[in-house]
Symmetry: C2
Subunit: 229 residues, 2 copies
């Protein structure tokens, strides 16, 4: 039975941009599992698969419906233990939470400050309204005010990525010689920027750029196949 | 044969303050291995155990001499595989490098900016001279200029610790239900501040404070036994 992955989309259903969905796209490829993508606009996410407060990604595998990217990754490792692990041990399963926290609290805010209006501009009107209401509540100000007063630059992003840059001086991936789910967590954040705003804001050279390009090319160029905005 | 651990000290040989040495003190306790501490002042570190460019900690176990805290942790897991692992799997062994990078590039600079002169003030004159020369070269300015113009506050430290605080909302340790070497890496940084400056600059409440206090109390209060400055 085909695995179904509900993924966030804008007006253009092929422009998949959610960082959390990208974590799972690469995780499925990592495990050699194919899937069917079901694009979902913002305003339809909450009620997916009979849920009442869903967030994407949502994955259906046979009778099982799993939500939240880390939970999905755990599920995939549990259900397909004979395929390459996304964690490679109990320690990494726990420590991935630190990478998620770092990405979520350091990287995501900077990227949101770089490309909030780019996200807004690629949504259908009904989703724009949904996005505006939820985000303005979260930020406590209008989208327009947020994206001018709080604007972040590529230099801010580069600075925020420094712990990763530093680590890449010692090994090729967060997972060591090959990527693990923790790599896809950080990849998802940069791919989010790439798919909504383009490549200008991304690191252009150096170790992070190199690492990101390798991940874009992996799994038959899965990451690169979704074009930059 | 007793494991010997060469650890950095100031004028007071019982005031062990090196963050990197603390990583290994807790790692040895984690593995249930006793050791003999050999206190070493800054100016004697480079030539320890016949080395020419040593850094502490240096560990001697029988005929083997190992340097650099991560390498020592790997060695201890390799040599004593029947005792509790410091990594718990290959994935965590790699991912610890990310935590080290984060601690080193984010946490250490803030702490150095909080307590540089406190370190200086607890050294013997010959070590003060060594410390001044090496650090002024590193920072490109005098110690005094660095510690006034670059001064950081407890609020800066709290902000820097936010990825850890966020993660501790989901699990008790970076290692999950119990600590791993990655926890000791971050513990070492905070214990450095505690032992050279006292407890005023440390988080006083909240999840990081709670986590740090648990680690101070572990292993019969090993961390707390070295008193705060």
């Amino acid at each position: 039975m085909t695995i179904k992955l509900y993924e966030l989309c804008g007006v253009d259903e092929t422009n998949l941009f959610s960082p959390h969905c990208w974590k799972i796209r690469l995780s499925l490829a990592h495990k050699g599992l194919s899937h069917e993508t079901i694009p979902v606009p913002f305003s339809k996410v909450a009620t997916l698969e009979g849920g009442s407060k869903r967030k994407v990604p949502v994955l259906r595998d046979g009778d099982e419906v799993i939500e939240e990217s880390y939970e999905i990754a755990l599920f995939l490792d549990r259900k397909y233990p004979e395929r390459p692990s996304l964690f490679d041990g109990d320690g990494a399963r726990a420590m991935t939470q630190f990478v998620i926290s770092w990405s979520q609290t350091q990287l995501h805010p900077v990227i949101a400050r770089m490309c909030l209006m780019d996200i807004y501009n690629r949504l259908a009107p009904v989703d724009q309204e949904h996005f505006r209401i939820t985000r303005e509540k979260l930020f406590g100000m209008t989208l327009e005010k947020f994206s001018t007063e709080m604007a972040a630059t590529p230099a801010d992003l580069k600075k925020t990525l420094f712990p990763l840059d530093n680590m890449l001086g010692r090994q090729a991936f967060i997972g060591g010689e090959s990527p693990l789910f923790a790599d896809y967590v950080v990849f998802g954040a940069l791919q989010w920027l790439r798919t909504v705003q383009g490549e200008d804001g991304l690191p252009k050279d150096g170790r992070v750029a190199e690492w990101f390009n390798i991940l874009l090319d992996m799994y038959d160029g899965l990451g690169r196949a979704t074009k930059a905005a």
